[in-house]
């Protein structure tokens, strides 16, 4: 049975700490995947999230991908960040990672994830992706991430993918999903733009948006690193993937409580999830290396989370 690379549901963006010595590149990957895999529909290897400085943060490395392919169940979708600092670099990274898959003879559910506006403008995007996809056998997911573009600090740069451009992009059948971060109205416009493709999914890239008004496709969650089962419960219920909570006494309460736990933790880690979540995971002993350079607020948030959740 073939597994789709874009399952409806919970996609967990892994919270790891890069090892500067570049040996066994990301410590804790094994324990983290083992903990997450019963609860999630897919895993996202996104160094752009766990790297504090977006401008100096690379895409997923070959060794990370190799490790992830080795450790993750073969039918678990893997999303891999390929975004570089230019179109040429991104294409190069994509080829490099593709070679890893070829070498390992990996044919599992894998898709590349790219935030095009990080290095490219809206103009010419469809042609660019056509060329990129011609050289890869895996599908592509695009990430609309205005917050990340804002971090570059270029005020003249457009922060969002234009809806008209998205309409053209979805004519490419191997572009299979969009991760949207940002306001609801734009999200609805994007959904309108992709309506011609019934197989095209739109995921919520921001947890808080999903918790408030859940999209029907799924969510990219960072908090799932801490509370995978609660996130699974909420995602399944929000997407109407299960009706089992209906009609069972007490399960609405269970759902509500899971939601409150998720929201409470989110309130604490939202100021610096890339630092705070790995720090909590390290304190739990799930990953071996703690994030470095936590600012006092992040230290306090970590402590508060550990008070609420002393163990995994």
């Amino acid at each position: 049975m073939s597994t789709t690379v874009t399952p409806r549901g919970l996609i967990c963006s892994l919270a790891l700490v890069p090892n500067p010595k570049n040996r066994s590149v990301y410590r804790g990957l094994e324990s983290l995947i083992a903990r997450l895999q019963p609860a999630v529909a897919g895993l996202f290897l996104d160094p752009m999230f766990w790297c504090p400085d977006a401008n100096h943060c690379g895409p997923a490395s070959s060794s990370l991908l190799e490790e992830a392919i080795d450790l993750a169940p073969k039918d678990l979708p893997l999303w891999v960040r390929i975004t570089g600092t230019s179109a040429e670099q991104t294409t190069h990274i994509c080829h490099q990672l593709e070679n890893v898959c070829r070498r390992l003879k990996y044919r599992g559910p894998l898709a590349w994830v790219d935030t095009p506006l990080f290095y490219h403008s809206n103009r010419g995007l469809p042609e660019y992706y056509q060329a990129l996809l011609a050289d890869t056998e895996f599908n592509l997911i695009i990430d609309n991430n205005p917050q990340l573009i804002r971090k570059i600090g270029d005020t003249t740069k457009r922060k969002n993918i234009r809806t008209a451009v998205l309409k053209k992009l979805v004519q490419e059948p191997r572009l299979v999903a969009l991760v949207h971060r940002g306001d609801l109205r734009r999200g609805i416009n994007y959904q309108r733009a992709v309506r011609s493709r019934s197989d095209f999914l739109v995921y919520d890239g921001e947890e808080s948006n999903f918790l408030k008004r859940p999209s029907a496709s799924g969510v990219i969650s960072i908090g799932a690193n801490l509370l995978p089962h609660e996130w699974r419960t909420i995602t399944l219920a929000s997407l109407n993937l299960e009706d089992s909570h209906l009609g069972k006494a007490g399960s609405f309460r269970h759902l509500w409580e899971a939601g409150q736990r998720v929201r409470t933790l989110q309130k604490h880690y939202k100021q610096g999830p890339a630092s705070i979540i790995p720090a909590v995971l390290a304190a739990w002993g799930l990953i071996s290396e703690k994030s470095k350079g936590l600012i006092p607020e992040e230290e306090r948030a970590t402590e508060r989370i550990l008070e609420l959740l002393p163990e995994p």
């Binding site: 029907a216 997407l239 509500w256 899971a258």
Partner: protein
């Protein structure tokens, strides 16, 4: 006690309004997105129900069940025999109400509702045709139904799925689309609606006897065959019905002059005002008998695309006239109900 700050109140109100607009936007978009997804399977579902010899048994649980009850009500009131089957009661004997001639309409957002999955094998054993309306066509219920109609939405308006919102709205809208398509197939008429709705406001209006609302006496616009068109126009203008009846001997109706007849007359005659009305009138106009009901009059008006109808007595004599507005309660004479 601390008084609530006015600016805080204002901010709170703005937030509430914004949230409400977001919810409406999501729900509207949910229905809008279904437009492109309505396809051949929906048409097949309508045909299947239309041709069925039995009833439509609607089933669902939770919010889908509530939507199901509304669909049942609409189907029944528009001429399709329908029953609601609670899936839990079904497992405890109510499945006996289902016969092989019936069509079972399953409503489930996820398509994985345990209670519905449990009754599915029995329904299949009975040989009943199953239509599933679901947001997940690749689900257990979707795959095991004879026809699966997609009713998914892009986004729910309520957190945690605690209260399905846009998905149930979409399902309800699709249920209405099904009912209206059936109305059109069955050529359901106002009189049929009247039979199904004796207690409703529209139903009550439709079953009012014509004589109760018709215009009589001097309020009937009427002229003789030899009356000049100029005078007939004055009569039409005075009585404000957009037409005048043309009378022959013994108070017998021989024709009608409407705005349309005047327009056509203007094209035909240079000195129209000096012509007798019989030159331009429509002979033998449609009429309604005084013993009928408003529903009968409405049906004649709709079928013939006319707005006024003379009311005739048992001997063919003119008794009155009714305008479409009178039927709908918008004219001079209004219903007092």
């Amino acid at each position: 006690m601390v008084k609530p700050n006015k600016s805080n109140q204002r901010r709170g109100a703005v937030k509430i309004i914004r949230e409400a607009k977001d919810v409406l936007r999501i729900e509207a978009e949910g229905i809008y997105s279904l437009i492109d997804r309505v396809g051949a399977e929906f048409a097949e579902a309508v045909q299947l129900i239309y041709k069925a010899r039995g009833r439509v048994i609607v089933t669902g649980i939770g919010k889908s069940g509530i939507v199901g009850r509304k669909v049942v009500a609409t189907l029944n009131s528009t001429g399709t025999k329908s029953l609601f089957l609670h899936p839990v009661e079904a497992m405890h004997g109510d499945l006996g109400m289902v016969s092989p001639d019936d069509i079972v309409l399953i409503l489930s957002s996820s398509g994985e509702t345990d209670e519905l999955k449990m009754i599915l094998p029995t329904l299949k054993d009975l040989g009943t045709r199953i239509i599933c309306i679901t947001g997940n066509t690749d689900s257990t219920l979707g795959r095991n139904s004879d026809l699966t109609v997609y009713a998914g939405v892009e986004r729910e308006a309520c957190p945690f799925g605690l209260a399905p919102t846009a998905s149930t709205t979409a399902m309800l809208a699709l249920g209405d689309a099904l009912c209206v398509s059936l109305i059109n197939r069955r050529r359901f008429q106002p009189a049929d609606f009247h039979r199904c709705h004796p207690g409703g406001v529209l139903g009550e209006r439709l079953r009012v006897p014509i004589e109760m609302i018709m215009r009589t006496g001097s309020s009937i616009p009427k002229v003789q065959e030899e009356t000049l068109v100029g005078e007939a126009i004055k009569e039409m203008d005075d009585k404000t019905l957009g037409s005048t009846l043309v009378m022959g001997d013994a108070n017998r109706l021989v024709g009608i002059v409407t705005d349309g007849d005047l327009r056509r007359g203007l094209c035909r005659f240079k000195r129209l005002l000096e012509k007798p009305v019989k030159a331009i009138m429509t002979k033998n106009p449609r009429t309604v008998y005084v013993g009928g009901f408003v529903a009968d009059a409405l049906e004649i008006m709709e079928q013939n695309e006319i707005t006024v109808l003379p009311v005739i007595g048992p001997k063919g004599e003119l008794l009155g006239i009714i305008h479409l507005h009178d039927l709908l309660g918008k004219g001079h004479i209004k219903f007092t109900m």
